[in-house]
């Protein structure tokens, strides 16, 4: 048992470190990697908003396919990209999606009945399934674009772009600091596990091993807490709190501007279509 915990813990840590940290895909030279961070964030945000408002399955499928094309053009293997997207979908749709299929939430044409007590019954409706499918597709489309941003942007560029786009300073700072220290803390856990292992002789009972983990977690929190105070000192010492001079204005490449225009106009066009339900009219 304890071996299992050790293994899963260190594997999980290793996985997080590698996958977030390696910036493997962000370093490739694909389509999105070559787009200016600011343009990319705005463009994909527009697509996300447009996907949030999309009401038809066709349109959401269009967004999902678009995200896959963008991923492929950015040299992200679909075998990596798609599972990652579908990992997030249940996290966000979660349990909402199941009741949505039922007549009590979404009334409509009943397909089959799950339960009937006298005149009251619980059944799955056609409209319910439709609503659930839209919900799932919408989450898939929006997470696809969000994941594309994170996969193709190096962390520093993302932070800098958010800064340039006037995201709240504290927000950007907290994000970049947590990125900096998550590794330190993960490393600490790994080292603590190692040093514990090196001191534990023979076989431990699984109960005992559980007891051994709580101090590790407690000391991790203590360390995180004290680090926080010390890091604040280190920042103060170097002038934190003064308004920084505006960052150097970087010029945006034509490719980035084109990409931005294309994505935003596509997103806006989709929004308008959706509103006027032009699509329904055009489709036979």
């Amino acid at each position: 048992m304890s071996k299992f915990i050790d293994k899963t813990l260190s594997n999980a840590i290793g996985y997080i470190q590698q996958s977030i940290y390696s910036e493997k895909y962000a370093k490739r030279n694909g389509l999105l990697q070559g787009i200016d961070g600011r343009a990319k964030i705005i463009a994909l945000l527009f697509l996300i908003i447009s996907a949030v408002y999309a009401k038809t399955i066709d349109m959401l499928l269009f967004f999902i396919v678009l995200s896959m094309i963008l991923a492929a053009a950015s040299k992200i293997p679909l075998s990596f990209f798609i599972p990652r997207v579908w990992f997030f979908v249940p996290l966000f749709t979660g349990i909402i999606v199941l009741p949505a299929t039922l007549n009590v939430v979404t009334p409509g044409k009943e397909i089959f009945t799950l339960m009937a007590i006298k005149s009251w019954h619980l059944s799955v409706t056609k409209e319910g399934i439709h609503a659930a499918a839209i919900l799932i597709a919408r989450v898939a489309a929006t997470s696809s674009f969000a994941i594309l941003i994170t996969l193709t942007t190096r962390w520093n560029d993302a932070v800098e772009s958010m800064h340039d786009l006037k995201f709240p300073k504290v927000f950007v700072l907290v994000l970049s600091m947590s990125y900096r220290y998550i590794f330190l803390l993960l490393d600490m856990v790994k080292n603590m596990l190692l040093s514990r292992k090196s001191r534990v002789m023979g076989k431990e009972k699984s109960m005992g091993s559980w007891k051994l983990y709580s101090p590790i977690i407690a000391s991790l929190f203590m360390k995180a807490f004290s680090l926080n105070g010390k890091v604040y000192h280190a920042m103060l010492a170097r002038g934190f709190g003064n308004e920084p001079q505006s960052m150097k204005k970087k010029s945006i490449s034509i490719k980035s501007v084109l990409f931005l225009l294309l994505c935003t106009s596509l997103a806006i066009a989709m929004l308008i279509c959706e509103r006027q339900e032009v699509v329904q009219c055009l489709l036979p």
Partner: protein
């Protein structure tokens, strides 16, 4: 007489958990001085540096930096502390605390940006400093990816880049390999000759004779101020403070106790060579 840069009068500091780290400490540091702070583990050296740097307010007593009185209210006022921060650089004992940005380059740029330099100036200073410390190849790396010594150098770079007048250094030579350590000592000498004020907390006694004239030996409530040479000759004080004398000095002390007459004990190799040459030549 140069003016005092840092003045502590009867300063005590108690951490929130009740640990009394410093008690009734009085000390003055003058412009252009290089001062060592030595003492056993847990003696309060790091705490003392934080107080001298205007980051911690004393629990009681008075602290003046550049003649300005520093208290809790003052410290939380970013605008009022600006002048102090601009002229003062602190290298913390733990480089993981010092390096809080996501790349070495950004970290080195943090100080100059926040102290109001223009972006062009920042870039040129950052690249000069990185080059000077031999860190160009790790500029775009995450601090997490650095070796212990590289981290230490990067921490030093974050402070040198703003060329502060006063440098507070907490164990700056820990983790450095012998060559880097030597280069760092040379750098400190140069800074000292350039008129900077340097305060350095360290256990590295070998390095001190090269750079410090004055030393504070501290242990919570005792602070002994002295000329470095006198302190290095005071066996009892050194013993109490868990300190060592430089190897060369130890050798000459042993020679002296076995009957050799040398009126002044040398503390570094240059001094020793000189001494031996004199003795050989009669």
């Amino acid at each position: 007489m140069p003016s005092p840069v840092i003045e502590l009068h009867n300063v005590s500091y108690t951490y929130p958990d009740g640990t009394e780290a410093l008690k009734n400490i009085t000390a003055k540091i003058f412009e252009g001085e290089s001062v060592a702070i030595a003492g056993p583990n847990g003696a309060g050296k790091s705490t003392l540096l934080l107080i001298m740097g205007g980051l911690l307010a004393p629990s009681s007593g008075e602290v003046k930096i550049f003649g300005k009185k520093i208290d809790g209210k003052m410290i939380s006022n970013v605008k009022k502390m600006y002048e102090v921060r601009k002229k003062m650089g602190i290298v913390f004992q733990d480089p993981d605390v010092q390096l809080f940005s996501s790349t070495v380059h950004d970290d080195v740029a943090f100080g100059p940006i926040h102290l109001g330099m223009s972006m062009d100036e920042v870039e040129s200073k950052v690249s000069d400093t990185l080059k000077f410390l031999g860190l160009e190849h790790v500029a775009e790396k995450h601090p997490y990816e650095l070796s212990g010594g590289e981290k230490r150098k990067a921490a030093i770079a974050t402070v040198l880049v703003s060329s502060p007048d006063v440098l507070l250094l907490d164990e700056p030579t820990a983790d450095l390999d012998p060559k880097s350590r030597k280069e760092f000592v040379e750098l400190l000498k140069k800074l000292k000759d350039g008129g900077k004020t340097i305060v350095i907390a360290t256990h590295d006694m070998e390095m001190l004779p090269e750079i410090a004239e004055k030393i504070f030996v501290i242990d919570r409530e005792n602070i002994t101020e002295g000329n470095l040479r006198d302190v290095l000759m005071d066996e009892k004080l050194l013993e109490e403070a868990n300190l060592d004398v430089p190897l060369v000095a130890r050798l000459f002390k042993m020679l002296e106790s076995s009957g050799l007459n040398c009126d002044e004990i040398p503390f570094n190799t240059d001094g020793a060579i000189e001494k031996i040459r004199n003795m050989v030549n009669g």
